[in-house]
Symmetry: C2
Subunit: 150 residues, 2 copies
């Protein structure tokens, strides 16, 4: 269990995000949730993760407000895990990871799953980091500032 003990003093949003979803399985669970998985068994089969680990991760994600445990949608007495708005807000994170993986871990033509626009079945545009006025920013064009009162 991640306890945030190491980051009590951190004011870096990246650290808090990593604290919430930075372990190996959580991001893959969230990815599967985006891909439509809802049931415990679906996650378990898809990920091949041990059930006790999955139990702990799902609980942590629910506690963290990323997933919600809701009554089953098919009328059965089971429960389902669905993304909350906070969880859905992770979409750019997943897309960024996916695009990075596509670019750097596959040889051209190597088969891999792909995220497409449902309407046109076309690949997405690559994510761009933009300034407030719309210029494309490279890492060196940015800097971290301490903000005290927003």
């Amino acid at each position: 269990m991640v306890t945030r003990t190491r980051f009590d003093d951190s004011d870096c949003p990246v650290a808090r995000s990593v604290d919430a979803i930075g372990d190996w399985w959580s991001l893959l669970i969230v990815r599967d949730a985006f891909d439509g998985s809802r049931r415990f068994g679906e996650f378990q089969r898809s990920l091949g993760v041990a059930k006790n680990i999955l139990t702990a991760r799902l609980r942590a994600l629910v506690d963290g407000g990323v997933l919600a445990s809701v009554p089953a949608s098919d009328g059965s007495a089971y429960r389902e895990y669905v993304l909350t708005p906070k969880g859905k807000a992770l979409f750019p994170v997943i897309v960024a990871l996916r695009q990075w993986g596509e670019q750097h871990f596959f040889t051209p033509g190597e088969p891999h799953s792909e995220l497409v626009d449902r309407r046109h079945e076309q690949r997405l545009r690559a994510l761009e980091v933009l300034s407030a006025d719309g210029r494309r920013l490279e890492p060196d064009d940015t800097a971290v500032r301490k903000v005290s009162t927003g």
Copy 2:
């Protein structure tokens, strides 16, 4: 050490990305690298991580092509860890995590560090997932497709 044993058969780019940088410290190391850290001691003080763990993580990131170990830039005999192009390509991932953290882990006005456009000292525009023709996409507007030969 992450060994990729669990994802030999995976064709999901997210899984490969998570395999490369999905542990607790790696993303924070990369974040610090974007923020200008280069030396072992800088990472160590910034993160408060045990030195043996930092050693292992840096080595893994170098092996994974995210960081490169180069001769020191200040003329000393020490070495520095700098982002490779592959590492710099993680920029949208870090920005996405940062923006998610800013939105969901801080109360309004709570102090936190902030990533700004160096030129105008302004906050960045929120990342957007766009289709090939520039429409903004929500998670439900996308689907995962299996691609066999690119």
